[in-house]
């Protein structure tokens, strides 16, 4: 267990400079955007005279140099203050925290679907490399990987929501349904079925291909031949020896894909009107609320770092070689 803890500490230490670069980059983009917070305020409040504008700039610290403002931004971030959203007239942190759980639910469910079903189908394909099933699944997954998630979402809506009326069109739950407990969970599950499918199906192909490629590699190794020589049943060789040893690359991919999935959820949430972080991002774009948009970027960077950390821990627990040869300091 100390091995995993050491790994966590090392990862967190390298995450600090990375996060700093992201923050400076976000600040740079904020500087590049035309107009500042005062302009945005004036645009929403209907204007003001030159003296009031100058006073506002001074009060909000906008008359200082870029370096001083960057330092102030960093200091505020250190206190967990992401700034003020002009378009929503609320602290950015509150808005983001309100929306984050919906996105995490969507991402978590889509990850479970793509990883679970993807690696299961990968095992089916990799059980007999070169067989008909293998070729069918490999080509099929390539085709699936070429489908844009938002378009898949629209097609699913056309078929399942509009033509067949099986599933709700949009939203995360029935508004003011008064449902509690299990009934509410079922309602949310019904609403999330299509978004999760459209987000998860794309990545399913990725895990399938990784699993299959890994298994094809393991099949060539001596211990598999030894297992076959010992007379183990084929099913047992496939599951307990080949698949098990091919599982690590897909798990590594879980961490790498967390960023990509978070990006994908922006469009999917917009298609299905799910009040999550992604939809907030496109709302921020529409309202030209750059501070809010960059707050979302920062929070997603933190989410990605944490997701990768989780994957690292899982990896260390699964593979005893990981982290064991690192200095003990």
């Amino acid at each position: 267990m100390t091995r995993a803890l050491r790994l966590v500490r090392r990862r967190l230490l390298t995450a600090i400079p990375v996060l700093l670069i992201v923050i400076v980059g976000a600040f740079g983009l904020l500087e590049l955007s035309p107009g500042d917070a005062v302009d945005a305020y004036l645009a929403s409040s209907g204007g003001g005279d030159a003296q009031m504008i100058a006073e506002l700039r001074q009060a909000w610290g906008l008359d200082q140099s870029a370096t001083a403002r960057l330092l102030a931004y960093l200091a505020a971030l250190a206190h967990g203050d992401l700034g003020w959203s002009v378009s929503l007239d609320r602290p950015i942190r509150d808005v983001v925290m309100e929306r984050l759980p919906n996105t995490l639910l969507l991402m978590g469910a889509a990850t479970a679907l793509s990883f679970g079903l993807g690696s299961a189908l990968g095992i089916v394909a990799g059980a007999r490399p070169g067989s008909f099933r293998d070729r069918f699944l490999s080509i099929g997954s390539l085709a699936l990987y070429a489908v844009p998630g938002f378009w898949l979402g629209l097609v699913l809506v056309i078929v399942l929501s509009i033509s067949l009326r099986w599933l709700p069109l949009a939203g995360i739950e029935t508004i003011a349904s008064g449902k509690h407990g299990l009934a509410r969970a079922l309602d949310v599950a019904q609403h999330l079925a299509l978004p999760v499918a459209s987000l998860g199906m794309i990545y399913l192909a990725l895990y399938l291909r990784l699993m299959r490629a890994g298994m094809a590699e393991v099949w060539r190794q001596d211990f598999i031949r030894a297992a076959a020589a010992r007379g183990l049943p084929r099913r047992r060789i496939v599951l307990a020896h080949v698949a098990r040893n091919a599982l690590l690359p897909p798990i590594t991919m879980l961490g790498l894909q967390s960023a990509s999935m978070l990006g994908g959820s922006v469009v999917i949430e917009s298609v299905f009107a799910i009040p999550g972080l992604g939809r907030l991002a496109s709302e921020a774009v529409a309202a030209r609320d750059t501070p809010l948009l960059l707050g979302i970027v920062l929070v997603s960077a933190v989410v990605v770092i944490l997701a990768n950390l989780l994957v690292d821990i899982a990896y260390a627990l699964l593979d005893p070689r990981v982290g064991s040869n690192e200095p003990a300091s």
Partner: protein
Amino acid sequence: MTMFRHFLRTPEGRAGGLILALIALAALAAPVLFPGDPLAIAAQPMLHPFQNAAVPLGTDRLGRDVLAELAHGTRTSLLVGLAAAGAAVLVGAAVGTAAGFAGGIVDEALMRLTEAFQTVPAFLLALAFVSVIGPSLATVIVAIALSAWTQPARIARAEVLSIRERDYVAAARAIGMHPAEIALREVLPNALPPVLTLASVIVANAILIEAALSFLGLGDPNRVTWGGMIAEGRVVLRAAPWLSVIPGIALVLTVLGVYLAGEGAVEAMARRRGAP
């Protein structure tokens, strides 16, 4: 040329090559077949496909010719996909070579920068960039390249790390070649092939990100984009689902063609290495 023959001998290469050739043809022929503005009104709005010979794929909500839009959209998709991927591979290879060749603090700093870019979701980064700078063809290309250069950079660095220990690099150093010249003339050309294997995935991703950006209304407003067509059709999803479905099929075919061609190229390279 042998490379191309190997490529055509793989089933993936044949299928991908055929699809891409057709799509490239559509992109080249679009201004000839459909001269004039594809965003101009051509006929009465919301005509079904396959009913009017003048507008074979029907018309959209505003009466624009869907087939003309589709053909002109091919140009945007291919242009953005190729330009963004080209820029991403160039920048990535340069950064990766610099990091791997310089080593030490430069390497450390460049790799932290790469990691920072990988930590921010690519699509969110592109979205933020386009929304801050303003949507135009150039910003969309830069935004996509900005979010795609990290993977080629990592691969180029790994290649350079192994190449710089080879004998011919030591020989170049021994004859007194300038380090920058060694990096550019000896190391980079040999580090490039593994990066290029990645090119098909980067092009495909660039096309998909462009589509998603224009679907959210952040494409160049003066050009037809498939993503924009899907978003436009979405408004009348109940009455005219084909308006969203048709451009999506074009998108899937293009991306599939790129993937298949990429697989074929990788296989052809492996075969050439295997053949005497």
